[in-house]
């Protein structure tokens, strides 16, 4: 019995030894394949996203912006300093010391993707070093920054467009009543005129890059009768928030200007932003006009909004950038 069984059992063992080595070869191939794929996903350098920001130097010793970038998860890049038109900017110091001491090894990020982090950096610039003077009506505008990371790598990054105003006059034209906004890509503002005035135009800044992704409607107690009809932008359907249904009034693209208002007239601005865009917003919708006393005014309805990124979109952005860099 014992002798009968033995050759059979050893035969089985030999067969399985082949399976073991075959299996181990597959394991090693699988690791190699995954590692090669992992390597192929690594960015040569961090990718800065697009930002459309406006700020003014009014009463501030420093100005700051939050920039967002994609970085490899392995060895995530941290900004050491940046240089814009010869002006150095530095990341804002950590304010939360508790966080600093307990999480030094834990990477800070806004969003996590399979191979990348979406990271942010708050950059501060000393007002006194800026190429424009506080209070002047000059605009400092830039779309590229030289970024040096802690690992010594320096890149020139396209960051969209940033405008810094030397001054931002405060025209007391409106009493602001209700102002609401959300991270769901909408914002709303209602106000009352403090004096009779004429609105000549309402415009979205950065017309080339931003205008197509921002939809603004103006609502008044008595809407001007206009035959103008405008199609809603395509992305409008992608807004999931129910608020979009409450968007009342008439598009600012409609030929309703100039628009004369009396004192204590109510008006409301409703703003919607393309949720599928890839850029960060911090600017104001501009309302230009003249008071009945013939003083020109400029009013800005601020917008701060961040896009939402899916894995797919991150992949697309990386593909686009690597195409540009010739990789």
């Amino acid at each position: 019995m014992r002798h009968k069984n033995r050759p059979h059992a050893l035969e089985g063992c030999r067969l399985r030894e082949r399976i073991l080595w075959g299996g181990l070869v597959i394991v090693i191939l699988s690791w190699t394949g995954n590692y090669l794929y992992f390597q192929a996903q690594q960015l040569e350098q961090p990718i800065f996203l697009e930002h459309y920001y406006e700020t003014s130097m009014r009463e501030q010793d420093t100005i700051e912006f939050t920039f967002y970038y994609l970085s490899n998860k392995r060895n995530p890049s941290e900004v050491l300093y940046v240089n814009v038109d010869g002006v150095d900017g530095y990341p804002a110091p950590e304010t939360d010391f508790q966080m600093w001491t307990t999480t030094t090894n834990v990477p800070q990020y806004e969003q996590e993707f399979s191979h990348h982090y979406l990271k942010s950096v708050v950059l501060q610039f000393q007002s006194s070093f800026l190429p424009i003077k506080k209070g002047s009506d000059v605009i400092w505008s830039f779309d590229k920054i030289d970024v040096t990371f802690k690992d010594g790598q320096t890149i020139t990054a396209d960051i969209g467009n940033v405008k810094v105003y030397g001054d931002e006059p405060d025209y007391e034209i409106f009493d602001e009543q209700i102002s609401s906004s959300s991270n769901q890509h909408w914002s709303q503002k209602s106000m009352v005129t403090t004096q009779p005035l004429t609105i000549e135009e309402i415009t979205v800044p950065f017309p080339k890059e931003v205008a197509k992704d921002v939809y603004v409607k103006l609502n008044l107690t008595q809407l001007p009768s206009s035959k103008y009809e405008e199609d809603e932008p395509e992305w409008f359907e992608d807004l999931v928030d129910l608020k979009r249904n409450k968007m009342e009034g008439i598009s600012i693209a409609a030929p309703i200007f100039p628009l004369s208002l009396k004192e204590n007239d109510w008006l409301q601005l409703s703003m919607r932003f393309n949720p599928n865009r890839e850029s960060y917003y911090d600017f104001g919708i501009e309302m230009k006009g003249t008071t009945d006393e013939n003083n020109p005014f400029l009013y800005k309805a601020p917008i701060i909004d961040s896009p939402y990124f899916s894995q797919q979109k991150v992949d697309d952005i990386i593909k686009e950038h690597q195409g540009v860099n010739g990789r």
Partner: protein, 190 residues
């Protein structure tokens, strides 16, 4: 033989607990492999196949020495990608594969033992456990390689599943060792 199987049993527990209870170094791997070497050496005169297991276990004693000194952060979580392929990961993956090969040889040894015991039921059980263990561990090692390229919930789900399944397999292996020891006790005087 009872003592030899006992040593393999405890040696394996030393090796296993190092892997599954994170950052606990009180049961160092090399001592576990040393126990296994002592166990299989005692059997190598009766069973030829024990020599392969002994040689590999001796290698693993030395190869696993770094696990005593390095704070072992077996990453089960979204951060695991950070340390992957920074040397340590290649090392611990290789060590894991070495352990699968060692268990394979121990299984071959167990097959020879149960063959000698002439216990059909135990033979079938050992043979079946042998196959399942090796297949599951190989599939687990393949699945592990994909942790490089996934993130978030999927990564946690995958690493936890692999962890639980391999823990179950190792317990099944230990129970089998126990059973063979018990049966061996009655059948063969050591």
């Amino acid at each position: 033989m009872k003592q030899a199987l006992n040593k393999i049993f405890w040696g394996y527990i030393f090796v296993m607990l190092e892997i599954h209870i994170i950052a606990i170094d009180i049961l160092p791997d090399p001592i576990g492999y040393l126990f296994i070497v002592l166990g299989v050496s005692a059997l190598s005169q009766t069973f030829q196949v024990a020599k392969k297991a002994r040689n590999l276990a001796i290698m693993l004693i030395f190869l696993s020495i770094p696990t005593i000194f390095i704070q072992e952060n077996m990453d089960y979580g979204p951060l695991s990608q950070l340390s992957l392929f920074q040397g340590w990961s290649i090392y611990s993956t290789g060590l894991g594969l070495g352990k699968i090969i060692l268990v394979f040889y121990i299984f071959q040894l167990l097959m020879s033992i149960v063959l000698k015991l002439d216990n059909q039921e135990l033979h079938t059980r050992t043979s079946r456990t042998f196959k399942i263990y090796i297949y599951v561990m190989l599939v687990g090692a393949i699945a592990n390689s994909f942790t490089l390229n996934i993130a978030g919930h999927e990564l946690i789900w995958l690493t936890v599943s692999i962890g639980i399944i391999s823990l179950i397999m190792e317990i099944v292996f230990l129970i089998l060792l126990r059973s063979i020891r018990k049966h061996g006790d009655g059948s063969i005087a050591s």
